[in-house]
Symmetry: C2
Subunit: 148 residues, 2 copies
């Protein structure tokens, strides 16, 4: 089994997608992460769920959970206002890691190694020209690896 066969359709967002819409897509469909593509359907970045969450949580709370502890629920609306009116491009993390993208001929083991290295529970499968052909999730991959 190769990545090309394991890859399935998966919702994508673009750099111009409203950030709030992207976060809602993740939450509503219980996705393990998001694939951001450019106008030619090439993966630009792939975000693990925790990276999407990071876009919502103000930086000063990330650095100091003790501060987050004292925020009362009346401030809950601040979460979404962090995203409001902004696009995915505007809230992307500064830090760009190794993208979990493989070619369709990648083996199951290569997929696994790529997910482990990127700490990302999904990997994009892209053609040699970079076009996204599908996504393999960690769950889908484990199902395959553990099948006997």
């Amino acid at each position: 089994m190769r990545a090309g066969e394991l890859a399935a359709e998966f919702p994508v967002v673009s750099l111009d997608t409203p950030a709030l819409e992207a976060a809602k897509l993740l939450a509503d469909q219980n996705l393990p992460g998001l694939v951001v593509v450019d106008e030619r359907n090439r993966p630009v970045t792939i975000l693990a769920g925790t990276q999407v969450l990071r876009m919502i949580v103000p930086v000063y709370y990330q650095d100091d959970p003790a501060l987050a502890r004292v925020i009362d629920e009346a401030s809950a609306d601040h979460f979404t206002t962090e995203l409001e009116g902004r696009t995915v491009r505007e809230v992307l993390p500064d830090e760009w890691r190794d993208l979990p993208v493989v070619e369709p001929v990648a083996t199951v083991l290569e997929l696994a190694a790529v997910m482990v290295r990127s700490h990302c529970p999904l990997a994009a499968v892209a053609d040699t020209d970079g076009t996204l052909t599908g996504v393999v999730t960690l769950d889908g991959l484990l199902d395959r690896m553990l099948a006997r």
Copy 2:
């Protein structure tokens, strides 16, 4: 809304659970990760899905995906043999990170900050004596944060 109210039941494993059984639990129930508890039901560690995957993938492939690329499918059985006969204790990652564990009074924002910091899409909620009372998943948390 506090962590204690958001927390839901979640399957747990112990340090003595066979590693293969733990990996299958994650795959079969599409869990975002695993909570490992001790004999008194206190969280010992919490593993993101990619950390469970890491337990399966031989280290030399993790370090060199190009090596993984040349492995043919006939070697697929090597995955599970990495785990066979071993317990969770024996395959736990050496590196212990900040555990995403919060008290029941933790706010939604604190939960989010803890998940972001630990890069883990689930957080355990434990009483002051350390006993696990439930788990909040990233999806469950996002649903709450994005609700209007």
